[in-house]
Symmetry: C2
Subunit: 340 residues, 2 copies
């Protein structure tokens, strides 16, 4: 079975986006930030999925995508907490509809109603709703709700601990995923995303977070940002800082996906990061949508790169399925229940 | 000849650092921000260099280091423009003393007196002094003088253009190099440095800067941040954004060093980035000072990794010497003059 741990609903039906624009306009005008939601038919959802994600899942030979709201439009920096809460709920409910239409192909991961300056624990109720009522298996956690100004404390600060307690209680991991950037220095998908990945890893490296939460788990997307490329730097920094070796310090808790859009990058990833820490992901349909003229294939068809690696069948199965089952225990339970 | 394009004076004699502390204290107290500079003997400088950089240069078999003030202590966010100007001048003058003591082993690159909110053109006079009077061959340009808050406009904004005019006039490149971070999210050498590299590259990718300045040259240190690892992403983003191919768009102007502290990283770098764009660098003595227990060698002994690559002698000579001569024409002139 091939599980893609990183897919966003980047192709949501237009009325959903129109609702968001209305919400933002209302916020500016001091009006209702949770206006009536438009009627979106199952057919509209089917069309948005079958022409895009589902078509590509089938063409590329994957089975199941761990599916969450579009990352770039989470935009936690827009409006205030009430805006974020209402928008987040609408986005998560829409994911639930996709999952209900295609239960064999999608499983839900939720957006959180984060907002700059607001305690992360305020996201716990929506996380619990999504997991317990909607059957979701994880969440996306934005380390920078300010959208490129980086005003929140590091992910290792006690500021975040009450939310981590809920994650541990529910036994769900978080993918560390920023949203769009309102800082003109940072292009969203070309700099902000990758920087956030690198930043989070270094925060984990310098803290004892996983002593406090031994079962807390994070997936760092986009192949772990710059980390595998600079694996010697990180091993050396840990050593200079008198930290334990990375395997011991954080590799029981931190995982990376395969959203690296060329073969040499994936080769490096699997060469330096233990295979138990790598989860198949493509972030399709996402940041890069074109076809690489050098290969004739989509840049983000990351399955092809993994297929091309000289790894054993056991190791490939770990990347494609087993590691996802381990990192998302609620996914494993679902899959096992479906088999029975 | 082996030229290391990336060395900082991280081992400057203690009185230099004491001067800085006095300056900072004076600034806080509203006093003199350019107090009398202590007498530092040639022997003190010799000791700081011969036990460290020069010893390692010789042990590792390099010849010449492009040498600049310590990056982490540039700290452009500390004090104000007058503080930055005085400190920068002291730092650059100290580099000049090292170069004068060891003209065969070191060539100078200057720090700039940047300061948050201050026009970059205000650094042009110090750049000109360093190049024309001190014989330096380039500068370090901090894309984030705020130290982790990223409040300056992108490097591609016209804000920076008057300084670029001076760089072009003097025919000197800049290494894009941030300093320490006062944002607790960003560990300096583990996140801020690498993020800045990635950020700068993406800024260049989305702009027409090099149409405006066809001869302007930047070295992106630390192997180009995350860029080579995500080369497919950058090629794909350029394509999606209808930009020219990267070779045409920026590879005549943007170069990367080899400060990547493990063999698989260097292998990837040289596999995806054209050899003409790679300059040997180690940033020694710098971010990572330990010995890798897996190899028994210093993590930052990057020459060993390049030596181990299956590249032709011609290509290795490009990385070790020819590219540096091309990117730093004033270095080439110096070397050619010394030969005669």
């Amino acid at each position: 079975m091939i599980i893609d741990c990183h897919g966003h609903y980047t192709t949501a039906p237009e009325p959903h986006n129109v609702w968001r624009e209305t919400q933002k306009a209302n916020f500016k005008a001091g009006g209702d930030v949770d206006p009536a939601y438009p009627s979106i038919s199952d057919d509209e959802i089917r069309e948005s999925i079958e022409k895009n994600q589902l078509r590509l899942i089938k063409e590329r030979g994957a089975d199941l995508t761990v599916f969450s709201p579009r990352a770039s439009t989470m935009a936690h920096h827009v409006g205030d907490e009430a805006v974020s809460k209402a928008w987040t709920r609408r986005c998560n409910d829409l994911i639930k509809r996709v999952v209900d239409l295609y239960p064999d192909n999608f499983v839900g991961v939720c957006q959180l109603p984060q907002s700059p300056g607001v305690a992360p624990v305020n996201s716990a109720a929506e996380l619990e709703r999504c997991v317990k009522e909607l059957g979701f298996i994880g969440c996306n956690l934005n380390p920078d709700p300010s959208g490129g100004n980086w005003t929140a404390p590091p992910l290792t600060d006690k500021h975040w601990y009450p939310l981590y307690e809920k994650m541990v209680e529910l036994d769900v991991p978080a993918m560390v995923h920023v949203s769009s950037s309102c800082n003109p220095n940072f292009h969203a998908t070309g700099a902000h995303y990758i920087n956030a990945d690198t930043t989070a890893f270094m925060q984990f490296l310098t803290s004892d977070l996983f002593k406090d939460f031994p079962t807390l788990r994070f997936v760092i997307p986009h192949g772990g940002g710059a980390v595998p490329f600079h694996w010697g730097r990180y091993r050396g920094l840990a050593q200079d800082l008198k930290r334990p070796p990375l395997e011991e310090l954080l590799l029981k808790n931190v995982f990376m996906d395969t959203c690296v859009y060329h073969l040499p990058g994936i080769e490096l990833l699997t060469k330096v990061i233990p295979v138990d820490n790598i989860l198949f992901g493509s972030e399709m349909v996402g940041a890069v949508r074109g076809i690489d003229p050098r290969t004739g294939h989509y840049y983000d068809d990351t399955k092809r790169y993994i297929d091309a690696l000289p790894l054993s069948a056991t190791d490939k199965k770990k990347i494609f399925e087993d590691n996802a089952r381990r990192v998302y225990p609620r996914l494993a339970k679902k899959l096992d229940a479906a088999k029975r």
